[in-house]
């Protein structure tokens, strides 16, 4: 008991000491991904998703070239993940369609898993970037707290030069703080890298792809009778006018919910990951040491869960679209 109390006291003292020695300025939080100077649509989230895709592709290529009968370390891990996903797809999807669903869904899961985990690096990556003068918006970071790598703060007035200075990152950086030179000036740091799934464009694109694929699979399995999901006229014949009308509007509701699914898919992922980023930024500005680790653990968990939820929901929607009407109930 005494040890626990001593431990708590020591960590509180450490937190306070670190808070005084290493204060972290609050980073600017931006809901949209920011362009990094190569055109208005070339955002930092796009850079990260390209980098991530290339890394995953290269890894898959290397592992795929060197498959062995008796798998070693890396191949074991990859096989474990792939087999777990394949098992899940096979238990939920119809037998005929499982081989078609699996590659799409596994790709989404693996990409999203690492895209979500990229948000863990936000407190680190958010501090490397292109520097712009804050202007009149406020919420900038005072120049005294910014370290310039090989450049002088007077290049702040030319935005083009600011990009080169941040991207170069030479091996022997000429680090100096701009302290005292231009006090009172505030700057905004646009990070060079940003977690892909904290950009609404990526999550919306994935949601759109998933829901369009649902319709395609539905039509391929059931032909034109797939439309009876949305336009329900059978009720008028079998069950009379009242039940028929209700049935018809249930179909309309089904059609609307198909669009609502796109929105909820994209905002679920975006909201969770973006909120996680904001929490990490705010907590790292409040408490420099120790307590931040708890939130990192939480974010690792949330990243896995959200990738899994996206995977399992698209699997369920795919399976529901390819099931015939009688089997559903």
């Amino acid at each position: 008991m005494a040890k626990i109390i001593i431990g708590i006291v020591v960590s509180i003292v450490l937190i306070i000491i670190f808070q005084i020695i290493l204060p972290v300025p609050m980073a600017a939080i931006s809901v949209a991904a920011e362009p990094i100077g190569l055109g208005p649509t070339f955002t930092n989230a796009l850079v990260t998703s390209f980098v991530l895709s290339i890394i995953i592709l290269a890894f898959a290529f290397v592992v795929g070239r060197s498959l062995k009968e008796r798998p070693g370390g890396v191949q074991n891990i990859v096989e474990l993940i792939i087999e777990a996903l394949d098992g899940l797809v096979n238990t939920i999807a119809p037998k005929k369609w499982a081989p078609t669903f699996f590659p799409i869904l596994a790709t989404i899961f693996i990409f999203l898993l690492f895209a979500n985990w990229f948000s863990l690096l936000t407190p680190l990556l958010g501090s490397f970037g292109i520097i712009h003068p804050a202007g009149t918006h406020g919420n900038g970071i005072p120049v005294e707290e910014v370290i310039f790598i090989s450049g002088s703060p007077d290049s702040l007035h030319h935005e083009e030069e600011g990009e080169h200075q941040a991207e170069a990152e030479p091996t022997e950086p000429d680090i100096h703080s701009a302290e005292g030179e231009q006090s009172g000036l505030e700057v905004i740091i646009v990070p060079l890298l940003r977690a892909p799934s904290s950009d609404l464009n990526l999550t919306f694109a994935l949601a759109l792809i998933t829901m369009i694929l649902v319709q395609i699979f539905g039509f391929r399995e059931r032909g034109l009778s797939y439309m009876t999901n949305f336009i329900r006229l059978d009720g008028f014949k079998d069950k009379g006018v009242v039940i028929g009308t209700i049935d018809f509007f249930v179909g309309v509701l089904e059609l609307v919910s198909e669009f609502a699914k796109i929105i909820s898919f994209s905002f679920r992922l975006f909201g969770n990951i973006f909120a996680g980023e904001v929490v990490l930024i705010v907590i790292s500005a409040l408490v420099t040491f120790g307590i931040l680790l708890i939130f990192f653990g939480l974010e690792i968990f949330v990243g896995v869960i959200q990738a899994f939820v996206f995977f399992i929901l698209s699997l369920v929607f795919f399976s529901m679209a390819t099931q015939h009407h009688g089997e559903e109930h």
């Binding site: 909820s264 679920r268 909201g271 869960i305 939820v309 399992i312």
Partner: protein, 79 residues
């Protein structure tokens, strides 16, 4: 009474939309997890299937909170 800027109500509305909108889904997810845990306790062999269905249910309950989030974001940045 002092005049309040329209900005004030925008911020207030966004906060209220998210805060009130999160109550229902919070309760719902709690009930869902409770049911799933009870089911696992009674039938531990079915854990995998129960977990999968629980996640699907949670995702649907969470969707309501997401609509609140969308409304809050629209209030903040679009209106």
């Amino acid at each position: 009474m002092e005049m309040l800027a329209p900005e004030t109500f925008k911020l207030l509305a966004a906060g209220l939309a998210m805060g009130l909108g999160a109550i229902g889904p919070g309760i719902g997810i709690g009930i869902l997890a409770m049911g799933a845990l009870q089911a696992i306790g009674r039938n531990p062999e079915a854990q995998g299937q129960i977990q999968t269905n629980m996640f699907i249910g949670i995702a649907f309950a969470e969707a309501v909170a997401i609509y609140a989030l969308v409304v809050a974001l629209i209030l903040l940045f679009v209106v």
